[in-house]
Point group: C2
Chain length 266, copies 2
């Protein structure tokens, strides 16, 4: 299966656009786990057991592993090798470089590690994106409109055309293998709808739902319009404010799984 | 010493803006080294022995280590702990994220590892830069005009003002601790001179000299104008085309060390 076929397969198996974000932070994990890299490992294993049936994808945030140095990378490697099949493994690494550096970043995530897709930052242009999409069995999501307030400082630059539209044009032009998508935050519903309308063929990875307060309805709507898409929830699933762990994690994932269903059940 | 004082100290000790770029690639290292992560470790140790007296800074390119997974990170950790004092350690990681992710990327490089500075990608705005510069003893260089041809795809976006000028304005506005600088490629001499004139207070990290063909004179001129600056050479020092290893490495570094001298000896 090429990337697009596999992406479809993962979504249809779960009947949901739910992507569970793996952002393990020792300041937030239950007290039963040690506050070190071993505690992180054991915590994420339980999270995966509780959510694997409900998640079309796992988005591993590399910052939360690199913060532990090489031991964090070692734990990341163990964890991704343990994820059950039929779940799209996405490296949220936001890498972006040129030449051999770009090739090696892609290789680290998509060949040395079993990730199927990765997030890429576009500031350096096509050179930073191409190594991630040369293999039609792998893919990437390029940062377009991010969920943070300061995202607009550069992303809205341009009197006649905001930069994020230029970014989307660049991505569309590179998408020969149909394995590229855009990262657009749920906190920016107007841009979500605008980019959806202008670039109907590009799948979205949508963070910012839940703890960050982004609107769920618009996120689901734009994913349904394309057919491919992922709506990410990290803290809202990993750290529920009530209930007994890990039942509360499962319950929270069930809730988002239902909210993000592929078919409109209304 | 805060970051600026330390930066000055490293430059003055060597009387040169030379930054040696550590981009170790098994396809290019001498046959005496094994083509694995251990060979990389031993190769870089010899490079450091041959160039430490001549380099004001070492720029470690993280892609070339991550490509080996956690073992690459382990070797990186060993190598940076062995670099002699009085040399500015720079992590060329081009990270860029928001919130806790941004904090953890900064922590990984500037606290867990002994890097004094790092390269940061600005697409996500201030949120991606601030965690790297909150400690006035540490610093960062933000991507502005990159040396690759496709850099202009987004960096020159904007009818009235190119994005790279907006990036430089953003960086200048965040530079309360005087620990920020810009990455501008030597392959773009017009932009180097333009940004130098508009933003006289920001130090530059200048890649693209040597193998990438960028002009040396302009690079040296804009560094001398500010007083702080780094001109990076990676392949031109690590992989000389002639001579016996490692004497040829030393000789090449001596050449660049002289070309990049802080004071004009003419």
């Amino acid at each position: 299966m090429n990337y697009t076929q596999y992406f479809h397969h993962c979504l249809e198996t779960r009947n949901s656009f739910l992507c569970t974000g793996i952002d393990p932070d020792v300041d937030n994990i239950p007290a039963a786990f040690t506050k070190d890299v071993q505690g992180i490992y054991e915590f994420v294993r339980v999270i995966i057991q509780a959510t694997a049936e409900l998640s079309a994808a796992y988005k591993f945030n590399l910052a939360f592993f690199e913060r532990w140095g090489w031991r964090g990378w070692q734990v990341l490697e163990k964890l991704v090798s343990e994820v059950p099949g039929d779940i799209l493994l996405l490296a949220d690494a936001k890498r972006g470089d040129i030449g051999n550096s770009s090739k090696f970043y892609a290789r680290a995530l998509l060949q040395e590690l079993p990730f199927r897709s990765a997030t890429v930052s576009p500031y350096l242009g096509s050179d930073s994106i191409i190594p991630f999409i040369e293999d039609e069995n792998k893919g990437a999501f390029v940062l377009c409109v991010t969920s943070n307030p300061s995202g607009r400082e550069l992303q809205e630059h341009g009197a006649n055309k905001p930069l994020y539209i230029r970014t989307a044009e660049l991505v569309q032009g590179l998408n020969q293998h149909k394995n590229l998508g855009l990262v657009i935050g749920a906190t920016k519903p107007e841009q979500l709808l605008d980019v959806r309308q202008r670039f109907p063929s590009l799948p979205f990875l949508i963070p910012g739902v839940g703890s960050q307060g982004g609107g769920i309805e618009t996120a689901v709507e734009v994913c349904r319009k394309n057919g491919l898409g992922l709506i990410n929830v990290s803290r809202g699933i990993l750290y529920p404010t009530e209930g007994k762990f890990p039942d509360n994690v499962r319950k929270s994932a069930e809730n988002y799984h239902q909210l993000f269903s592929i078919k409109d059940d209304k």
